[in-house]
Amino acid sequence: MKLTIKSLPSLVLIAVMFTACNSSGTSNGNRGALASTAAEKVYVAPGEHDEYYAFFSGGYSGNLTVYGLPSGRMFKEIPVFSQFPTNGYGYSEETKPMLNTSHGFVPWDDLHHPDISQTNGKLDGRWIFVNGNNTPRIARIDLKTFETEEIIEVPNSAGNHSSSFITENTEYVVAGTRFSVPVPQQDISIKEYKGHFKGALSFISVEPETGRMNMKFQVMMPGFNYDLSHPGRGKSHGWFFFTTYNTEEASTLLEVNASQNDKDFIAAINWKKIEEYVNNGGGTKMPANYAHNVYEHATHGAKSTMLKEVLTVDPTEVPGAVFFLPTPKSPHGCDVDPTGEYIIGNGKLSADLTVHSFDKMIAAIEAKKFDGEAYGIPVLKFEDVLAGQVKSGGLGPLHTEFDGKGNAYTTFFISSELVKWNVETREVIDRQPNYYSVGHVMIPGGNSAAPFGKYAVAMNKITKDRYLPTGPELEHSAQLFDISGDKMELLLDFPTHGEPHYAAGIPAEILAPKSQKIYRLEDNKHPFAVLNGEDTRIERNGNEVHVYMSMIRSHFTPDNIEGIKVGDKVYFHITNHEQDFDVPHGFAMIGANNAELLIMPGQTKTLVWEPKQVGVWPFYCTDFCSALHQEMQGYVRVSPANSNIEPSWSLGE
C-alpha cells in the first residue's frame, strides 16, 4: 500500500514534466528555438551586455537607479536629490549648491517619474528628467556622464507629482502640483481652501542644444489635485493632459471627502496656444523665490541662483486653451497612446478604464458642446469625448503603457494584476497576476510615439515573501514580463532600491556608444584644479587653508602636510590625474564631518575638513586603485591654534 502511495505522486510528477516539456515545445514554435525557458530569456552571460537600460525612480531614496534588462542587474545609483556619501555628491563643495532651495539646503527628496528626452516623439537619449515630489524640483541628468546637471525648483507648487513629463520634441518638461496651495503663499485659515488655493501647472522650457531649463510659464488652475500627466503626440502634439482628483476641493480627510464626485476631470491644456499667448506678451509676472542650480562639467562645479519672478497665466484669459474632460472616479494615471488619439484615464476607484478620443474632443470643442464650467474653464460632455471604456474586470487601475503594436498594458493595484488590452477594440487580451499590488508599469519607450514592445516591467508596491526576509523593511519587487507574444510571460523577479514609482527604458545601442569614459584634463576648468605638476601648493588665508592636491596611482601629492592648526577650515581640492577608463581614486580624511570623495579620472573635487584635535592625522584612498592601493595614504600634522608653524608640504622627502 505504502509503496503504491509513494509511487503515485512520482508518476504524477513525471506526467507533469512531460506535459511541461510539451507545452514549452509549443512555445518554442512561437518564439524561436533559441530562447525557450524564462531563465534563458533573462540570462545575460558573463561579459555580455543587456539589451536595454532601465532607469528606475528611487522614490524616497531621492535618487535614480540604472538597471539592465532583461537581466535585472543594477549598474548604478545616480544621486539626484539626496546627498550621496558614496561619491560625495551633496557633501563636496562643488555639489552642495545642487541641493539649494528657497527653503535652504534640502538634502533629500522623493523622486517619482523619469522621462527620457525625445525628438519627433522618439527617444533620443540625451537627457533624462526626474521630479522631486516633496520640495518641488525638476532635475535633468546627462546621459553621457550619468550625472545630475541641473535642478530647478518649482514655485507656487507642492507635492510636485504630475511631473516630469516631456513634450514630443523636449520643448518642455512639465511639472504639475498635486497639492494646491495659496498663491502667493500667505497666512490664511486652511478652511479658506475653496477658491483661494491654486493648482500651478508649470511649463519649463528646455534649451535644445544644452538642455538648460527655464521656468517659462505657470498655468494657474483651480485648486484641485493634479495627479499625473502625459503629453499629446502626433496629431495631439501641442496639448498636455493632466488627471485631477479632489475636484471636491476638500482640505481634510481626503480619503472620504475627495471621493464624493462620481467624476473628476482630465485637464486638457493647449500649451502651444498658451506659449503663443505669452510670447506675445500675455501673462502676469509675479514675485517668486526659487532656486536654479546648474552643474558645469567644465568646472566640475555647481552654482545656485535664486530667481525672483515667474510668469503666470490665468487660463480663463486664453480662450480655447484649457478644457476639462469628465473622467470617472479619481483618475490616477493619464496616458496617451503612441498615435496621440487616445487619452486613458485610470480611475483608481473604478473597475473600468476610460478612453477618451482626441478627435472627438476637438470636434466637441469646435461645436462648443459644453456641459457647464468650473472656475470659468469649459467642461466637455463625457459622452462627447469618450471613445469607450475597457470593462476589465480588474480593480484599481493605475497606469497604462503601450507596446506600439496596438496594445495597452494597464496595472491594477487592488486586484494586483497586469492587464493587456487592444487600444482600438478595448477588448481584454490577457491578464497576469503581480506579486504584489503593482503601481507603475514600464515598457521601454512606452511614453513615446515609438515604444519597444518586447518587455514590460511591473513595479510592485508590496514585496512580502518574494525574497529572503530581511526584517520588517524590504526593498521593492519588480517583475519582468516578455510581451512579445499574445500572452504575457513572467520571466523574472528582481528587487529595486527605494520605492520605484515610474521608470524609463531605452535600447542600450542608443546610450552605450556615447557613454563618457573619463574627463579630459585639458578640459578641466575647475578654479582649484592642479593641472600641472608644478601647481601643487598650500595657501593659508586667515584660518582658511587651501590644499591643492593631485592623485595618481598610487600616491597623493602632497602626502605630508604640516602647519595646519585646530580651528582651521581646510579645503582639500583634489584632482585625479589618471586619464584611463575606470581608475577613480577616493579621498577619506579621519574625523571629517561630511563624506568621502570619489574622484573620476580628470575630475576635481573639494572636501572641507575642520580639525578639532591636535595630532598627526592620516588620510587615504578609498578606492582599490592598484596593487599599491594600500600604500596610497598621507598625514596631516595638526598643531594647537596658537602655534606659528607655517603651512608646508612634501612628497617623498
Binding site: N532, E534, I552, R553, H577, Q579, D580, A627, Q630, E631
Partner: protein, 167 residues
Amino acid sequence: MSTIKKTMLLLFGILLTACGGTPEKKEKFTYERTPAQKETKTVNKVAGNKATGDLTDLDNKGIGPVKNIELGTDIDQDMAKAGQALFKEKCMLCHKPDKKFIGPAPKGILDRRSPEWVMNMILNPEVMVKEDPIAKQLLIDHNGSPMANQGLTEEEARKVLEYFRTL
C-alpha cells in the same frame, strides 16, 4: 596578494614585538632586511643588454602603434616645448626629469632605449608591462607601480619624446 602577504608579515612582526615584553625602548629594527633591489639585479639580465646589465637595448622597438621614428638631427624646440608642457600636465606626478621617482627618469632615455620603445611605452603601457621584456622588468624594479595610460595621442607622445631629447 603580495601586498596582503607583506602586510600580514608586518602585522605578525608588530605582534611579536608587542608580545616580546621587553620594556626598554628600541629606536631601530634589529632584524636585518634585504633591500629589494639586490634581488632584482640578477633578474635584470633577462632583458636588455646583458653586457651592461642596465636594461639598455636600442634595437627593441617595444609593442604598440609606433613602428618607426626618424629623429631629426637637430631638436625641434617648439615641439620640445609643447612636449614639456604635456609632461608637466600628464607625467610629472610620477616622473621627475632627472631622477628616479615613482617611475624612472627620462633623462638620457635615448641612450638606453629606442625612440619607438619610448613612445610605445607612453601609448600602450598595459600591453608593454605584460609582454615587453624591458617593461616587465621595469615594473618589478619600480615596486609594481604601473605606468598609467594617460591617453596621449601619437602626436603628443612624439612631442614628449622630443622634450626628452633636451634633458
